[in-house]
Assembly symmetry: C2
Homo-oligomer: 407 residues x 2
């Protein structure tokens, strides 16, 4: 089995975290100067590991093994959320680099090649998982042309500034790869709270998002009698309460739902709100349960609209279907975990989205988690115990070897 | 009885509305260049009417009758809400001007003096009813020093720019006045929806405001299981729903309550909200009912805090006590209304705050409403039928004369 160097992994992660360091975390939005510099740094590390480096036209960084017969694509994304954590996707990118180095040093891995990759913009600074969707042909030119940052900077301008605009965008060659393997921090506290050290992802959840809008009538909060009000804020809190009650009845053990965004208009203490909006999101790995939630939400919205006095509509937004991870890849990760941490691993869904779900449409895909301290992620205080980082690298390398060595 | 000139009233209102005209309404925030220009214009009109004009150190415009033996202070505020209506307080200021002119032309009013006034900043651009509170000694130097606009401009800077900073602030001389009389549009639709033309204000409502704050724990909306969430948004909508249900049980026929402002933090679709805030307001003329609402709100907040999982607190903000209008002033307005619009008037509370409630602490005070079309106010589309504007001026003048002529 290939032997990983835990100290080298930690050192590389720390060096990568210097690009955009913020407190104990990292601020490295996609295509920012720090992000561009870090991608060139990664390309150089891939080259040092004997891989052929390339950055493509969307910013994906590849390190290809051009000597092997069988290839596994391994990686994650390297940009961060604003003032985000130092591990997150960077962990999976450095694991990919380390696995490539460990394979190169292991005679048993002769002919088996790791292609390492650092995807661009999984975090959605300019669009939805742009790098992996570009690579798998899951995004059209029209959508790319419309992508922009929250500040309104068009993707094309950002790519030009980054120096990536005139490069071709790489496309997956399914014949080249046995599959795709990704490591990431869990981002929840399932592992950390139970003292487990490795998560084997069974499936990545599907996500539904709806904009629910309520339209009443704006009025003076002192002079408008209750009986003739059409208060969109009252309608929103009543509907939101019903949604929380009903979803709790329909939920499976791992279903999650969130009303994370609410807006009153004009949002002034002495004005009866004329408009209200909330974003309702739910996630599950079970397509049937997601459909039941869809149906229940639309029924509650229709009922609120019928009951009045406010008009109520629900607009579905971009949806993500659940994606199962490859069963043999799960077995390989589980066997490797059992070898290095007997009884210290768990099969689990991923509640967060990952590039692996995009890749799973074109390649067999697998995914491994290591613990997040207290479940914190997308925050500069995110962290993982160093022993878990080191253990995860070795388990991940073993799993990659088992997958590539399987007949 | 003094005879008002309806055409002159309408013409003056239209001329005043040119200062800051916006569509069919007016944008004239306190101490803006348009507001300052309009105050100088009003001072000139007061002088033309034979009054001694003066603008004081807070921007109040006075026109004093220095020849009369008995005085009634008459007026309202002249600035507007942002993109507000052309009548609102301006109506009461021009009525005051017209009543002064009508008295001057009527031999029966010899020796009876109207002091006209246009208060500054009733609308709260820099503070709470600054002009009338300054005049009645209801605001301290500390509070004045802390006043600023929503854009952060200190009151002192605004007064300096306006040219009012070095003037003395006028103070009420209770011995000079029989009382204070104010006219205003209703701002609700009680009169308009019932075809009535004059409202006799019995009392101005008291107002309670609370900031209700909920503190949970911010988390990832995909990886945080429902059972361990502390979602401040869920806590807020559940509590808001209970508040609306409970207040409906406690309400009197004219009680109003509003949750006009709600804030989720960080208000992002994929983040479990860690903090939520809402502003809860209620109004009634009955102090006992306001106390019952206070008690119910605090009990619900304490119960939510006890039940968890989010901490919940309520912080009382500036409160306004209900103020009864003088009974004899009400009778005078009612008698005048019955004379000019038999059966076309109504005794009613004011659900909105007015300078009259401030003046009522130092002088007998009375207040008269004319209809608002469809109850619209604080919006540029606010309007009133011209015949109601004309009628209102005459009723108001008759009432003022009756008050001043009473023994």
């Amino acid at each position: 089995m290939p032997k990983t160097d835990g100290a080298r992994v930690v050192a590389d992660l720390k060096r990568l975290a210097e690009f955009g360091r913020y407190k104990s975390g990292v601020h490295r939005p996609t295509y920012s100067p720090d992000d561009v510099a870090s991608r060139h740094w990664l390309a150089d590390r891939f080259a040092e590991a004997g891989l052929v480096p390339a950055i493509d036209g969307i910013g994906n960084v590849f390190g290809r093994n051009e000597r092997a017969r069988r290839h596994l694509l391994v990686g994650s994304h390297s940009e961060t959320q604003p003032y985000g954590g130092w591990l997150d996707g960077a962990l999976g990118v450095i694991y990919a680099l380390e696995v490539a180095r460990a394979f190169a040093a292991d005679p048993d891995c002769a002919g088996l090649g790791i292609d390492a990759v650092a995807w661009a913009d999984e975090e959605g600074h300019y669009g939805q998982m742009l790098g992996s969707r570009s690579f798998t042909g899951a995004i059209g030119e029209d959508e790319l042309a419309a992508c922009k940052s929250r500040d309104g900077v068009p993707l094309a301008d950002a790519l030009r500034t980054a120096g990536f605009a005139d490069r071709p965008r790489a496309e997956v060659d399914p014949a080249r790869y046995i599959g795709y393997l990704e490591a990431h921090i869990e981002q929840g506290d399932t592992l950390d709270s139970t003292g487990l050290r490795i998560g084997i992802v069974e499936a990545i959840v599907g996500i539904r998002n709806y904009w629910v809008r309520l339209v009443g009538q704006q009025n003076h909060a002192g002079t408008t009698q209750m009986a003739r009000r059409k208060d969109a804020g009252v309608a929103m809190v009543r509907l939101a309460t019903r949604i929380h009650d009903r979803f709790a009845e329909l939920a499976g053990p791992r279903t999650v739902w969130t009303i994370g965004r609410m807006i009153l208009d004009p949002n002034a203490p002495s004005i009866v709100p004329g408009r209200a909006e909330m974003q309702v999101q739910f996630r599950d790995t079970d397509t049937g349960r997601l459909a039941a939630f869809d149906e229940a939400l639309l029924a509650m919205v229709a009922e609120a609209d019928r009951a009045g006095p406010c008009a109520c509509t629900a607009e579905p937004m971009a949806r993500v279907e659940p994606r199962a991870m490859d069963a043999r890849f799960q077995q390989a990760i589980e066997a490797a975990a059992e070898r290095h941490a007997p009884g210290g691993h768990l099969r689990m869904p991923s509640g967060a989205g990952h590039d692996a779900q995009i890749l799973s449409h074109r390649l067999r895909a697998g995914m491994m988690f290591i613990p997040s301290l207290n479940g914190v992620s997308h925050h500069w205080s995110e962290d993982t115990r160093e022993e878990d980082i080191v253990l995860g690298a070795q388990v991940f390398a073993d799993a990659a070897a088992a997958i590539l060595q399987a007949p």
